[in-house]
């Protein structure tokens, strides 16, 4: 833990999100740094949500806090890594976050637990009105992550990662509550299979760098217990490629800055 303390003390940055609406303390060079993915994930939570939100694998808390500051939700950040959980706790102590930090808490626990061990670790059954997740995505064959902390954040812990994460999401969700996640296209089949019998009314939005690119991510929402059919939404295009400037499109800029929400159809 000497190393962990070292990272937290000297190699951290405090970064503004949503143009200063909230701040995040996170590792500067090592570990998983939050960014666009977390903001897109937060944009899946409707404009005026209420009740309790669970952020599974929260890291330093970017997505969860992006919902907390703009709503009245009680937010629980579940994070397995002691170092990242410590960053999340420190994020909650940042002065600019204090107005909503009292509605947020950090639970240091492994999303892949099941049964009594899961409940004992702090995952309450049928407790949450909305679950969000940005599951780890390094797959066999990916280039090795350059440092151990990042590897831990990104590594697939096995072929059944999505099954375990979505099983936990279903267990802690109230009936009719919404699951929202962001993932890579290569995980689509495993995620859909894990949702089967748990979350229905699945809606999928592909995220494309520009309008002619293949998707780099997809956004998915589902409703616990719903029998509604799967829906494929129009692409979300991140960058207009006019003039080669790679500016954000208006909708992408609004979504990642908390000014718009990717509503279900």
């Amino acid at each position: 833990m000497a190393e962990a303390a070292d990272i937290i003390a000297s190699k951290a940055s405090i970064d503004a999100f949503h143009k200063g609406a909230f701040y995040l303390k996170q590792p500067k060079e090592n570990g998983h740094r939050a960014g666009i993915d977390a903001m897109l994930l937060a944009s899946l939570v409707p404009e005026d949500p209420s009740g309790r939100l669970a952020d599974l694998g929260a890291g330093a808390g970017a997505a969860g806090l992006a919902v907390a500051y703009r709503s009245k939700m009680d937010v629980t950040l579940f994070e397995k890594s002691p170092i990242m959980a410590q960053f999340a706790r420190q994020s909650l102590q940042i002065e600019q976050n204090l107005s909503f930090a009292q509605r947020c808490r950090v639970v240091e626990a492994d999303v892949e637990l099941s049964g009594q061990a899961r409940v004992a670790a702090g995952f309450e059954d049928n407790a949450f009105d909305h679950v969000i997740m940005n599951p780890p995505f390094n797959e066999a064959g990916d280039r090795k992550a350059p440092d151990e902390l990042k590897a831990q954040a990104h590594a697939m812990s096995g072929d059944d990662l999505f099954e375990k994460w979505i099983k936990t999401a279903a267990a802690i969700s109230k009936p009719q509550s919404q699951l929202s996640l962001i993932a890579r296209p290569s995980s689509l089949q495993k995620i859909l299979t894990a949702c089967e019998g748990r979350f229905g009314g699945i809606e999928i939005t592909s995220v494309l760098p520009t309008q002619n690119d293949n998707a780099i991510r997809f956004l998915l929402t589902g409703i616990k217990g719903s029998k509604a059919r799967l829906v494929m939404r129009p692409n979300l295009i991140m960058h207009s490629d006019e003039d080669g400037a790679r500016n954000y499109t208006a909708i992408a800029d609004d979504l990642i800055n908390g000014r718009a929400f990717l509503c279900r159809s």
Copy 2:
């Protein structure tokens, strides 16, 4: 069969496809009439294909013939319905189709057969360079199809329809050959699951009526035995909605008229 003969004799039409490049005899009022779906399916077969093509659930043969006329492929149309198979055979006798009809044949057989029964019915193992399919899509809860022949063409024969169809596709495909299909978004999960371990390098294109609509279909290709990751391609937008005219977009018009092909990335 009196009724069937009646349909064929008096209630059939002969329709031009690809602006007269080939013709199709098909039921006029009853049964499944081929259209845009079949043409989009055919557009998934690359520009200059060779070898043997299997069209599973071919109906009157629209998709298979759309490939046959523009290539040198040998095309086998597999169709379970005796009436629709008869339409396919009659389509091959239409004068305008004679230049390529000798490379086409109709096999009246059920795609859902397996094992020895499948082989005995005419599905040769490891024989085809490309398999195309537009599987039946009526699901429980859909409004009942208004006539029996159409119901037969559209009806899900059970939850494992896609498993059976894609299993047959894999059995009759040569290694590294391509599967191409068109289906409804609600079938996405079942189709991806059926492809697992059989067809990899899956590429998915959502088909949207206009750019702001949800998808009504998706196009999927995969390569037998490939381990490549799933790819989500940019949307295919069918209609430009300028002026409310609902004209086809340039790319959609090219694809459904055989002037362009939806290449794999």
